[in-house]
Symmetry: C2
Subunit: 471 residues, 2 copies
């Protein structure tokens, strides 16, 4: 294919911006704001990338309002950047061409829960914790858990996953259907409430992970699960990353239905011991969770304990009561804050790659070697059942030297992941931070992505400057 | 969005066809054929739709050859229709605008099996049984089972699923990445061997279910599973479809990890009793399969037996030994042939819809009423865990009256499924047979599908006349 690229957004024509802002202020009153603090808060906040605030912030309350705003912005060629909770990690919320941050957090109604069908219909600003609080009394839960209490619309837009994807899948799997506003303001619905379909192109999966560049998600139909009868947690130390990975591979091959299996390396454990006053052995450690019947989970624990022993692991400590489980998992839950505390005042560069699990030990070890060689400080944690791991260098944001080192580290991290048949990001997305890796990963398939973007957003007003490098 | 539709393929320019055929005959020798019997065999064979044979058949052996053929066909504006095993059900293989049937069945090499990563890389002509025979010694299996021994490329192209999708998902879930030849002959690879990714648009899922209209699949990377330690099968009769559905709902809510749960209605059971000399009660019947550890599967059987009793079902008969399991499942395995035997010489119209499971009993009962009112003969079977069911009217293909009745039946079947929040096809696809339902199901989202088709195949040479009604 030849490159058919959506052009860089043309500058908003003179006078058009003022006219648009006047129209929006008149239509939306105080829900449309030019306030500097609000704009700064709506730009990229959880990355080491430069903050690029939008020109304005608008709080939408319905799908029709989103459609109306997008229509007006399309006329003025004004970029629109959808905003949920602001927890994305690769600069998805920056406004490199200016534009309006369209805040959907007030669209936070849970519209329906269908218990018999194990699904629900929600607005995009509903957060995963809000949904799970709502579902608890019905004995149901929504499994995708990226750590942050993110909005479900944002989680779909970035194809989020997290600790229990190994059992329950990612947002790719969790969404049955979407409502979305397109670049011309038209509203479409994709999918249905059926569990599966062979009807037409899979627009649901096309929108999931499109990072707001193809459409603005204004509604979601999600799959739910019954809360398991029994949940057991466990922790197990290993003498090497490789042994921990081999134990994971063996458990997956045997079909042990692991609900979570998380790796923390010795640096992360050291950080957690210091932060949470724990005395865990400072070794690579697996944190596990087992879901099922009482007998079933006990059988899973026994199977995993045996596998771990065979791979040279320590004893599997496990617990069933909620408070004991929390204690066992405390190190994993505290990982982010414990990492930050390793170097007060530093900025955390949270990055991820994902590789075939047989390549995980090598990729993690090579990352550790690079970190040490470059003199960086960085814990490593991983969703090891998926081959997905995070490295979190702590840098002085003012130091050009450290920024250069991190860039070198990231380049090598991604290069190794791609050479191993993996991907440059398992769950954080491309945003701005990984634009330069897209072509290396996908080759000429990027031309197909660009052609789709051009066909659906010819003016390039939907979150421009994300995913694609501009020509 | 406004409609941007790929036009009907323009007639092949005078002389271009002869020149193309001469070039292909010279390049591919006996692998390029104009033989009438071969052409007829490569058109649509398993549907009640009119057979429309291609102009020629070409056996490709590599991705590069597919690319070469598509380039030549694009120059001549000659349609290309990919062919695997010819088991699709909605006229996907017909050639309403003529064209070349590109037979990929000789691309049947299993290129790699990665045991530690539970994945494999195959050519598109590998069939699912061939793959499973190859995997057995490694203790692995590929779960998607649509009944027919279909090619994996064809299964991906139609987003196939089948009896164990309730546990293992559909082709949507089973594919990690694809190689595909696009309408201009360029070759792309999508996805990777990583278990999950947040890198760019999900072109893998876009190609899956696109029925050969966006690209020709020439390679697949597939997820595998360890063969379960224990497999138990069971059969249970119910006094009504509703009770059988309620038992299924209860089991799913409780998280019983059913591997298969299949419904056959009383007409199907009667057909099976006659065909296979069985004495099953002529009642709605569930066929079940349980995968897991020995203790785990026994616990699943006990749980389901209790649920079935509570919902008014009969005793759950179950078995562990392969030959006993086969006997229990014989009626389900024979369903298609038993149905055919109900009316020798008749044509079978195999159709499917999929609805939220809470609507399944109503939809199945209404289908049965329609069938009876119209005086048609049609067994019903269902992948009840997904809300997906099949109705198989047996008609005299020469009778216009019966064809008219079937069309009325199909219209009403789909209308009810859509009204219930379902889809017009759970696993058979749109092809030609369901083109008229696409807009009813997807509304203006069809315009997005059409825009993508136009962007990727502007000449409309890839399997034209499928999925989309022409303008």
């Amino acid at each position: 294919m030849t490159l058919v690229m959506a052009e860089a957004p043309r500058p908003v024509p003179a006078g058009a911006k003022e006219a648009l802002f006047a129209a929006l202020a008149s239509r939306f009153g105080p829900r449309f704001s030019l306030g500097q603090a609000l704009r700064a808060q709506h730009a990229n906040t959880l990355t080491w990338l430069k903050t690029e605030p939008p020109d304005a912030v608008l709080f939408a309350e319905t799908s029709e309002e989103v459609s109306e705003v997008v229509r007006l912005c399309a006329e003025a060629r004004m970029p629109v950047i959808p905003f949920g909770t602001g927890t994305s990690l690769e600069g998805h919320l920056n406004a490199p061409f200016g534009g309006i941050s369209l805040d959907l957090s007030r669209m936070n109604r849970i519209l329906a829960v269908h218990e018999a069908d194990l699904d629900c219909v929600v607005e995009p600003g509903v957060t995963r914790k809000q949904l799970n609080d709502h579902l608890r009394d019905a004995g149901l839960f929504f499994p995708v858990d990226p750590g942050a209490d993110a909005s479900l619309g944002g989680m779909a837009a970035t194809r989020a996953s997290g600790t229990n994807a190994v059992r329950y899948g990612t947002m790719r799997d969790a969404v049955l259907g979407l409502t979305a506003v397109l670049a011309d303001g038209s509203v479409i619905t994709t999918g249905s409430r059926a569990r599966k379909t062979a009807s037409g192109y899979d627009l649901t999966r096309l929108l999931i992970g499109s990072e707001g560049t193809l459409g603005i998600i204004t509604g979601l139909t999600l799959k739910l699960y019954g809360i398991p009868e029994t949940i057991l947690s466990g922790v197990c130390s290993f003498t090497s990353i490789e042994d921990a990975c081999n134990a994971t591979i063996a458990a997956l091959q045997m079909g042990v239905p692991l609900a979570r299996i998380e790796l923390a390396d010795e640096v992360q454990i050291r950080a957690c011991n210091a932060y949470s006053h724990l005395v865990l052995p400072e070794q690579p450690t697996l944190f596990l969770e087992f879901h099922g019947t009482e007998a079933g989970t006990r059988e899973q624990v026994a199977s995993f304990a045996e596998i771990a022993r065979a791979e040279g692991g320590g004893d599997l400590q496990w617990a069933a009561r909620t408070e004991d489980r929390s204690k066992l998992w405390q190190a994993r839950h505290d990982a982010y804050w414990a990492a930050r505390a390793l170097r007060p005042g530093a900025e955390i560069v949270s990055t991820d790659v994902c590789v075939p699990i047989s390549a995980l030990a090598n990729n993690v070890s090579a990352a550790r070697e690079d970190i040490d060689r470059l003199g960086l400080l960085a814990p490593i944690v991983g969703h090891v059942g998926d081959g997905n791991f995070h490295v979190m260098p702590l840098i002085d944001p003012a130091s050009q030297e450290e920024r250069r080192k991190v860039q070198e580290f990231l380049d090598r991290l991604v290069e190794r992941a791609l050479a191993a048949g993996g991907t440059c990001t398992g769950e954080h997305g491309i945003g701005q931070g990984k634009i330069n890796y897209l072509a290396a990963e996908h080759g000429s398939a990027v031309l197909v992505m660009a052609a789709i973007k051009k066909a659906l957003d010819p003016l390039n007003i939907l979150n421009p400057g994300k995913i694609f490098a501009l020509p």
